[in-house]
C-alpha cells in the first residue's frame, strides 16, 4: 500500500516535473517571440508597399530608400556622435563616483544606511522626466545660479571647442548649464549613476573584505589594498557597471528633453532626434532612427558580453 502510494506519487511528480519544465520553457519562448515580433514590426512597417501614393503628389519612397536616407542624413550623424560621446562621458563620470560610493556603502557600517539606500535607488524607480524637471528647477535656485557662476570659463571654452570639433557644428554655450550641450551629461548622470552604484556595489558585496584584510596584514595601506586587490577583483562588475551606465545614458530621453531641450544640431541625442521626427509627423525617419538605436544596442551588448564575460549581469 505504502509502496504503490510512493511509486504513484513519484510518477505523478515526474509528470509534474515535465509539465513544469514545459510551462517555464513555453513562457520563455512566448516572451522571446513577443519581443522579437514587436521589434521586427518596425522593419515590416518600413518594408510595407506604399501603394496609396496616388492620393497626393508626394513621391512615395520605399522603406529601403528611407533607410538609406536616414543613414546619410547629417542630422542623424550628429545625433549618433552626440549620443555616443555624451553617454561615454556620463559612464566615465558615473564610475568615478560609483566605485568609491559603492565601496563605502559595501564596507562601512553607516548609520541610516537604509535611508541612503532608498535615496540612491530613487533615480532608478522615479519616472525619468522627474529628474529633468527637478534639475530645471534646481538651476533656478540661488545654489543653481552659484553653480553656473562657479563653472570655470576655461572648462566652458574647452568643452565648446572639443564639442564643436567633434560634432562639426558650432557649439557656443556660456556658463549656464540649462539648455546647454554639455548639460546633457548632467541630465543623464543623475539617472545612470544609480545604476552604476548598484552594479559595482553588488560586486564589492560578493568579494567581501577578507582579501583586503589579508593585504593589509601583508603591509598594504588601505589605499593600496583598494587599488591593488579590490579593484582588480571587481573588474567584471566595474565593466558591467560601465556598460549599464553607458546604455542607460544612451537611452535617456525625459531628463534631456526637460533639462537640455530638443534643439536640432545642439542637444539632439538619438532619442530626441526620434522624438523630433515623430512630432513633425515624419514617422518613417523616426522608425529608421529607432532601427539604428536597436542595432547600436545589440552590438554594444554583444561586444561587452565578449569582453566582460561571465559577470553576474549576463
Amino acid at each position: 500500500m505504502t509502496k504503490t502510494e510512493a511509486s504513484s506519487s513519484s510518477r505523478g511528480s515526474n509528470v509534474g516535473n515535465a509539465l513544469f519544465v514545459a510551462a517555464v520553457g513555453a513562457i520563455l519562448i512566448v516572451f522571446l517571440t513577443a519581443v522579437a515580433l514587436v521589434l521586427l514590426s518596425n522593419v515590416k512597417y518600413l518594408a510595407e508597399p506604399q501603394n496609396w501614393s496616388m492620393l497626393g503628389d508626394a513621391k512615395a519612397k520605399s522603406g529601403w530608400e528611407f533607410f538609406l536616407e536616414g543613414l546619410k542624413d547629417p542630422e542623424n550623424h550628429f545625433a549618433i556622435k552626440l549620443s555616443v560621446l555624451m553617454a561615454a562621458l556620463t559612464a566615465l563620470l558615473s564610475m568615478v563616483v560609483a566605485i568609491p560610493a559603492a565601496y563605502a556603502l559595501s564596507r562601512f557600517r553607516i548609520p541610516g544606511a537604509s535611508v541612503i539606500d532608498t535615496v540612491l535607488d530613487l533615480p532608478i524607480v522615479v519616472p525619468p522626466p522627474v529628474i529633468g524637471l527637478s534639475l530645471l528647477i534646481f538651476f533656478r535656485t540661488d545654489l543653481g545660479h552659484a553653480l553656473n557662476n562657479l563653472t570655470p570659463q576655461w572648462y566652458v571654452d574647452a568643452m565648446n571647442w572639443a564639442l564643436s570639433k567633434f560634432l562639426g557644428q558650432p557649439i557656443q554655450d556660456d556658463k549656464v548649464w540649462v539648455y546647454s550641450t554639455r548639460g546633457i551629461v548632467l541630465a543623464q548622470f543623475f539617472v545612470a549613476c544609480s545604476f552604476g552604484v548598484r552594479a559595482v556595489k553588488a560586486t564589492f558585496d560578493t568579494i567581501g573584505s577578507r582579501y583586503e584584510d589579508v593585504a593589509r596584514t601583508l603591509g598594504c595601506s588601505r589605499f593600496q589594498a583598494f587599488f591593488r586587490v579590490v579593484v582588480p577583483m571587481a573588474r567584471t562588475g566595474i565593466v558591467a557597471g560601465l556598460v549599464m551606465t553607458w546604455a542607460r545614458a544612451m537611452a535617456e530621453f525625459g531628463p534631456v528633453l526637460f533639462f537640455s531641450g530638443a534643439t536640432p544640431y545642439k542637444t539632439e541625442v538619438m532619442p530626441i532626434a526620434m522624438f523630433l521626427r515623430y512630432s513633425a509627423g515624419r514617422i518613417e525617419p523616426a522608425v529608421v532612427l529607432l532601427l539604428i538605436m536597436l542595432m547600436i544596442s545589440t552590438v554594444t551588448l554583444l561586444t561587452f558580453k565578449k569582453l566582460g564575460g561571465r559577470g553576474y549581469l549576463w
Partner: protein, 274 residues
Amino acid sequence: MMSDARRIVIVTLVCVLILVGVLIFAWPGNAGQGKAGPQVRLLAHAGAGIQPPLDELGKMFEKKTGVRIDYSYKGSGCLLPDICVSEKGDLYIPGELFYMKQAADRRIITKSRPVAQMTTVIIAQPGNPKKIASLSDMAKPGMRVGLGDAKAIAIGRTARTVLDKAKLRKQVEKNVVMSCMNVVELGNAVKLGHLDAAIVWDGTAALYKGYVTTVAIPAKYSQTSTIPVGVLKYSKHPKEAAQFMDFLASKEAAPVFEKHGYQCCLMKSKATKG
C-alpha cells in the same frame, strides 16, 4: 588573472580609440565650421508641429544675417511652463494664438505678431476606406475618432467649437477613442491606421501629404487660427529676436509657410506690444 585583466583593459582602450578615431576623422560631416568668432544665437521655444517651415526659415535667416536660431521644440502646451521655469530663451513660437495669450497674461512677452494662419480640416486614412466626407460621417456609430484634449490644447478646443456649430458635438464625442496633448499625434495615429478620422489644422495635414486623406470642413463650421511669434522678456538679444520675428512675418517667409500648408497673414500682421 592579472594578464587577463590587462588584456581586457587593452582591448577596451583600443576599441575606444578606434571608435573615437573613426568618429572624428572618417565620419562624413562638415567639421571646422563656425571659426568666425562667436555668433549671436537665439533660443526659440517652438511648437514641434511647425518644425518643417521653421527649420527652413531659421536657415534662411542665418544665411541672411549671420544670427543662428536654436529651436527648442516641444508640444505647444509644454513651452510656456518650460520658459517660466527656466527663464531662458529669446523667442516664443507656439502653434496657436491661445498659447500666446497665456504668455501675455504672465507678462513674459515684450512684443508679438501673427505670422501664419491655419484652418481646421478632417483627416482620414489613406484612400478613405471609411468614406468620410463630412463632419456627420465622424458621428456614425463605430467610427474611431481622435480629438485634441479639450482643455490643454488649441485644436481640442477649436474642434469642439466646430462640432458645436455643426450640432454634432455629443454624437462625435461618443466616438472619441483617443485624446492627445499635441496635434501631430492625431496625424500620426491616423497615418498609422489607429484612428479613422481626426480634426486637425491644414498645416498639420500638410505634414502627411500623400499619406492621409484630407477632407475640407464647410466654411460655416470651419475655424481659423493663427501662429504667433513673441519676443521673450528674458531675451539677451531683443534686437535680433525682433528682427527674426519680423522676418517670419515678411514677404520672404510667406512662400515657405505656404509651401508647408499654412496661409500667410501679411496684411493683418503688425507688431503689437505686450
